[in-house]
Symmetry: C3
Subunit: 130 residues, 3 copies
């Protein structure tokens, strides 16, 4: 159900992008109990003049050119505590692979409702018998 | 009022993209009664390592490289039944042109409010006399 | 807290894009009282067949190829009056620099909640002591 847009500066190799994708999805599975197969993501690589981010706002250390923004739309509400655990887990897993520093990881969550998704076949799978 | 982001793998010719745009907009007009002139869309073509989608999750048949994701923001609420009719109509029209298989068509709807739109001129047209 | 996606036709020089970014952010600061350092934006430049916009719908004059769409996610609610003032200010500032005509400026606002943001460090800064 989640769809995640991942936005970062252009220039990382495909294996780096795959690790970003893998680690973020693993955090969704672990913290939000998303089914492992429920994986949908797009990666948007931008030139330096196309990605504007403050280097220090609400960051423990200055952000680097590895800054990455995850904009995830989820399909049902999660509690504040679960969201906080999710943020922590994203930062931990991305630090492991591909090695993004915690100050470079920014996330925002949008919550849709179950009827707002059609995965395929012209159906609203989350509210229909399948 | 709707703005739709259309995300798919790079490589389709412009006429294919135009048919995607036309068919999706026609479904908005038919199922959501959107004015025909109220048409705003962006198309984001990505490389294979930039678009991650599960091939089988909640799909009647495996998704192909024709997978296309429509992320539409609408300006007022629609009922569950109207949303379901919309999903069906999108799948039907895209099967006709450009010939996308139903299992490759994924949609999510975000609902904004009328005051959240400025179409032009620094005005909030949906809540002001024009 | 705001993250803004800016979508327009490809072909403008970097200094034009910088002026777009500067003016839009200044309107956020002035009308929404966003901290000046709270600046996060991505710019998506598209080919003509990738950006579809009606030339006349709810516009005082026909839109030109300078059409630009701002999709901003904010972190707390604003009143209707404040949103209207924001739209006006965006149009004014963009007319000044880089010189976008008011009919070419389209905006939509999405409102998230404070717990939906992690700026860095695996933390939810808007709801935690920092």
């Amino acid at each position: 159900m989640p769809f995640t847009r991942i936005t970062l500066l252009r220039g990382k190799p495909p294996e780096y992008l795959k690790a970003l994708s893998d680690s973020f999805h693993r955090a969704l599975v672990e913290a939000f109990e998303v089914p492992p197969a429920d994986r949908f993501q797009s990666i948007h690589q931008l030139e330096p003049h196309e990605l504007i981010f403050d280097r220090t706002y609400f960051a423990s250390k200055p952000r680097s050119d590895d800054y990455v923004f995850f904009d995830v739309t989820i399909g049902k509400p999660r509690s504040t505590e679960v969201k906080k655990a999710f943020y922590r887990r994203v930062a931990e897993l991305l630090a492991d692979a591909p090695g993004v520093r915690a100050e470079d990881t920014m996330i925002t969550i949008t919550t849709a409702t179950r009827e707002d998704w059609s995965f395929a076949d012209g159906r609203a799978q989350m509210i229909e018998q399948v």
